[in-house]
């Protein structure tokens, strides 16, 4: 059913259609509207046989989900940013124990400096924890990915994270097709756990594992993620058959077939990139896009297949691994490892802490990649004057003070000065 609805509420409705039995979460911006939404559906009785548990922290939220999942319940939670960091130990535990919890991550920057806006730092901080990680391009896909995530997680018995750009998607009101309960039921059968804590048939989950077996346990986790590389496209195909939409899978391409320049990106930024590509195509530039849906498992082989046909690859990502550069660009390098005639990879850091990524900036960026490529990470729309002033100041004075506050002071000064400056 078509609805004009806020992304968060659409996700809440989609999650409710998946019939979770235990939901526990702790509010944090920008994820809050999602769990408020499912909480409301539990209260009104629209979501039956579901216990909504209020907890005192994110660590408790995921710990309750772990307990519920181990007891055989379909469990769901959601968080963002520092909330994910606060539950970090439980994030690794859920994966290590092989519990198919689904979690929405309303993607938000990580402090300090404190910042409530969107980037992908939070998702990247937990990319090694053993969760499946899927990135939504639109709110429609965000709804659809949750339905696929429960199915995927339960088939493999491992947790899945649906990553949704905070504010940009969570707070946008737009047209979204909410599937019918009958279709979701047909796609997603009731949860049948592969392991369950049952007093009538007691087992242990979470034993200590020493050097004699730890490697094997980890290998099997990695092996299962590799199975997901095959399962994800199958699920997306089945989903399309039932729901009539392209959602999920490993990756999607846009005008990529004859592209000399390929852009690689994840999440909502792909929409703006597509509009930019259409404009540049109209000017005769052979440019295309690869949208990554799956970051874990990382679809290196599928990505390589597309990238090898281009001469230049621009990786645009909303994260910086400080001291290294762009983690997604690094992954793209991995996809091209030992590949003869591999394209040049150009790394771009964009949209950090909610800075808007505009078509105008992307135009300049993609043209520059063709005529004046760069080494290392390029920071899109970096205010070089501001940075230079602060560097200069810090060189002159030993007690130069906190960077963030100095930068803010400079901005305030600039705003108060006449435009001529």
């Amino acid at each position: 059913m078509l609805k004009q609805i806020e992304g968060s509420h659409a996700m809440a409705e989609g999650i409710a259609l998946c019939r979770p039995e235990v939901i526990c979460a702790y509010p944090i911006t920008p994820q809050t509207h999602i769990v408020e939404g499912v909480g409301e559906l539990v209260r009104t009785g629209d979501l039956k046989n579901c216990e909504f548990i209020n907890v005192e922290s994110e660590f408790a939220a995921l710990s309750v989900a772990i307990g519920a999942s181990a007891a055989g319940a379909r469990a769901y939670t959601a968080t963002s940013s520092q909330g994910l960091l606060f539950m970090a130990e439980a994030v690794y535990n859920a994966a290590g124990l092989g519990l198919p919890i689904v979690m929405t991550l309303g993607n938000r920057a990580i402090g300090a400096p404190i910042n409530i806006w969107n980037d992908h730092s939070d998702a990247m901080s937990m990319s090694d924890a053993g969760w499946l990680q899927l990135f939504a391009e639109t709110n429609q896909e965000a709804v659809d990915l949750h339905i696929q995530a429960f199915r995927l997680a339960e088939e493999l018995s491992m947790p899945a994270m649906v990553c949704v750009d905070g504010f940009i998607l969570t707070h946008a009101v737009e047209r979204i097709d909410i599937p019918s309960q009958a279709d979701v039921d047909a796609f997603l059968p009731p949860y049948e756990p592969v392991q369950v804590l049952d007093p009538a048939d007691p087992i242990t989950i979470g034993a200590m594992v020493g050097p004699d077996a730890f490697t094997e346990v980890r290998f099997l986790q990695h092996y299962k993620q590799n199975l997901a590389l095959r399962l994800l496209p199958e699920l997306a195909a089945e989903f399309k058959q039932r729901f009539g939409r392209d959602s999920g899978g490993l990756l999607r391409t846009y005008r990529a077939d004859d592209a000399e320049l390929l852009v690689v990106a994840m999440g909502s930024i792909n929409g703006t990139i597509k509009d930019t590509i259409d404009e540049m195509r109209a000017d005769g530039v052979r440019i295309g896009l690869v949208t990554l849906v799956a970051f874990r498992p990382f679809p290196a082989a599928a990505l390589r297949e597309h990238l090898v046909r281009a001469q230049n690859v621009v990786v645009v990502e909303k994260c910086i691994s400080v001291g290294m550069g762009g983690p997604l660009a690094n992954h793209v390098d991995l996809a091209l490892r030992n590949t003869a005639g591999a394209p040049q990879v150009h790394s771009v850091i964009a949209g950090l802490g909610g800075r808007p990524v505009t078509r105008a900036s992307l135009h300049k960026l993609f043209r520059r990649a063709l005529v004046q490529p760069w080494e290392g990470a390029h920071f899109l729309d970096l205010d070089e004057k501001l940075v230079a002033k602060e560097l200069h100041r810090a060189r002159k004075v030993r007690r130069s003070g906190p960077t963030a506050e100095n930068i803010l002071r400079q901005l305030a000064q600039r705003a108060a000065l006449p435009a001529a400056e």
């Binding site: 004009q4 639109t138 946008a172 009101v173 737009e174 929409g271 078509r359």
Partner: protein, 192 residues
Amino acid sequence: MFQVRFHGRGGQGVVTAAEVLSYAAFLEGKHAQAFPSFGSERTGAPVVSFCRIDDKEIRLREPILEPDALIVQDPTLIKAVDVFQGLRRDGYLLVNTTRSFADLHVADRVAAMPLGHARTVAASELAVKHIGRPLPNAALLGSFAALTGLVRIESVEAAIRHAFADKVGVGDANVAAARASYEALAATPAAA
């Protein structure tokens, strides 16, 4: 694609206004995207929200930089922020005020716009009359429908009823304000 930027003050319902407009467009089978300016809003502080309307899927996720129309909920904002920023040459302007553009010191700016594209409406006064509180959203959306013809007044009314579905009487009162404002603007010549 038609892009609208709303200027208001925290607490005036600038986000709701954009959402209601998007819903009106949705009812006409169009694609619409409403979104806030993503901040930690404080009551009374200048805030903006956005609404895009198109016949095809809207993929763009940048803020609206070159609006086709501006809706200004509070005329004092004109002094506080650059509300005209990026407004297209053929754009529209709707300001909630009982004063003239000359009194607001924007007569020159308005004169550069196409005739009839910049209008004032006493939305707060209409709201007090019909709703009992100075909440200008419904009245502004009603006159916006008259000014631009982008959405029909019937769609605006249905969207308002949808927004206030769970509040008895509030929907009707807001619809009355929207209709009165629509008719007031449609009835008066552009130079007024």
